[in-house]
Symmetry: C2
Subunit: 349 residues, 2 copies
């Protein structure tokens, strides 16, 4: 905080980055070689106490901030990890990111965020662009990508974790849960409670193929039962509470024969419950409602929402830990982890 130069450009007119205080300046002030300063900062134990403290003083005095670019370029190592998710509007991704962030931060890594808006083309571009940062690993949502994306990631030869869904084939590592199975379990539950005409309400199902997998799971189980049938409702727009609110009205009007609705997520399901409350529609009397995710709100609404709880933060933690394990040369406990799911049977069904 003493004599940081106000100008961003050097006096000689040549390029300069930010504070313009370089490692060499520190070295000069501390009367040591630049490489020693580098060591003192990155590997303190390899420098004697004397020099270390002299260097620390110089660093503080000059307000030196290491240029990560230069360091990364020289060592071909960074501590920035791209995390690629479809969207930030969905709480689910947020919580996974949170888990990832917590673990990464604890190990001194930074998170470089990319969103694809469920567009695989954009995902491919993003992966390419982010690889330009020479990251030590990549975290990405989903198992389905363009062939191009798979190729790029495989060729990059770095640790990759695919998150959110669990499946047989992954690029490198995989942490998630089976959405197909989630759908089956919910179908099982609804059948057990006597529902026979079940609607699945989702949004943008062509893009959100994980929600679609839940539908497929449900559909399969209902087919097996031979006594029940389903109906698929696909709305445009994000899976918000407002959408669930609207959907309940629509569906009841156009398909009064339905006796249960399985929503693609808790947000929508909660919206539907709030609508039912407002309009005096009996749940589960008139129609049963189920969701997916196990958001905290699901247990607070009346009636409490039947849902499938997914361990989102755990997923983030696990994924980050696996990645870090691989980065530091070791191998993770397992290359594929199914974090599982838990059906919470509550009042709404």
């Amino acid at each position: 905080m003493d004599k940081a130069p106000p100008e961003t450009t050097n006096t000689d007119g040549r390029r300069a980055s930010h504070g313009s205080v370089t490692l060499a300046d520190v070295a000069a002030l501390a009367r040591v070689a630049p490489i020693t300063v580098s060591r003192a900062l990155n590997n303190p134990d390899s420098v004697s106490e004397t020099l270390r403290s002299r260097i620390r003083t110089a660093v503080d005095q000059l307000g030196y901030v290491p240029n990560r670019m230069a360091g990364a370029l020289a060592s071909a190592k960074t501590k920035v990890i791209p995390v690629i998710v479809p969207s930030l509007s969905n709480v689910v991704f947020i919580e996974v990111i949170e888990g990832v962030q917590e673990t990464l931060t604890a190990h001194g890594y930074q998170l470089l965020l990319g969103t694809t808006d469920y567009n695989l083309e954009r995902e491919a571009e993003l992966v390419s662009a982010l690889l330009g940062w020479a990251p030590p690993g990549v975290m990405i949502a989903g198992l389905r990508h363009l062939p191009r994306t798979n190729t790029i990631l495989k060729n990059a030869g770095l640790p990759v974790v695919e998150m959110m869904e669990y499946g047989a084939r992954c690029i490198d590592m995989n942490v998630g849960l089976s959405h197909f199975r989630a759908g089956m379990e919910m179908a099982e539950h609804l059948l057990a409670r006597g529902y026979r005409k079940i609607g699945f309400v989702g949004t943008r199902l062509r893009d959100d193929y994980r929600a679609r997998q839940r539908y497929d799971g449900m559909h399969r189980r209902l087919l097996e039962s031979k006594t029940a049938s389903d109906m698929l409702f696909d709305y445009p727009g994000g899976g918000s509470q407002q959408l669930g609110w609207n959907a309940l009205g629509d569906v009841l009007k156009t398909n009064p024969e339905l006796d249960a609705l399985f929503f693609a997520n808790d947000e929508m399901a909660v919206g539907a419950i709030l609508r039912a409350q407002r309009d005096g529609i009996a749940i589960p009397g008139r129609i049963a409602i189920a969701g997916f995710n196990g958001l905290p709100v699901s247990s607070l609404v009346t009636p409490a929402l039947t849902t499938i709880i997914s361990p989102r933060k755990l997923m983030g933690h696990t994924a980050a830990e696996m990645l870090l394990a691989r980065i530091s040369g070791g191998s993770p406990a397992a290359r594929r982890v199914n974090v599982g799911l838990e059906l919470a049977a509550r009042e709404s069904t």
Copy 2:
């Protein structure tokens, strides 16, 4: 996708970053000078059509991904912008980030995410660390930082936008709203509806000083009125629906004389409403409830929640636009923007 080398290390045993295909390789294949490839990629118009297509072919054939570190080091420019927020558990920050992300992405910038967990010490470290990426600008939540943080940011001499709150003194640019005013307006509203004993329910108010400012605003207005009084409740933990749910019970038991509760955010307020619904507590008959933020759910609960709507995504967009304007040399329309707020008087009061 042709001949990407499987190894990460060079044959000569020296360091290599990722794909190891460099600009020089592309140049060799296209039979031009490296600098021409650089130009073809960064400033296509300055290269003839002939060479440009020859270079593009070479790039595709080799699967070349530019090394951003090297580029950034050489040009002292990056397209990565640090965004520093207290937490990801709060929807409010997410929506601002979303807005920021949309605008930044549209201009080819990347978002480097940092969270402080409401810890100013950590914030200072984060700022320092992120400046090491020589970013062209910085976005940070809040106007209150450690003196050290202010110094670092000012000395860095780059565009800085402070978001979320609007105030007189900012490091460089500021986009937000006045939380003090929000508190006053809510007090005004509650007074107008005849409430006189008002509780403010928040969490971690020492850290979340913006919530505290809302309380201060309310307190001031109530003092002026001379007829009303307030009471402050400060809970530990995050401001979740569950916490609002619990708080309603606590507060009614220990302070039955209260006739209104102003929650620090909509999440808590909605939790309280859901609890009231479940327990048959009349709102606003027994007690009025108000929130802050204007989350979509606030208008879906019964009774609909009175709240103050803050334009969060707009804040993110505006902030990002101002920053980009400054980065590209221009100056933003204004250095300080008050995005304003809107009180939605609904059924819960």
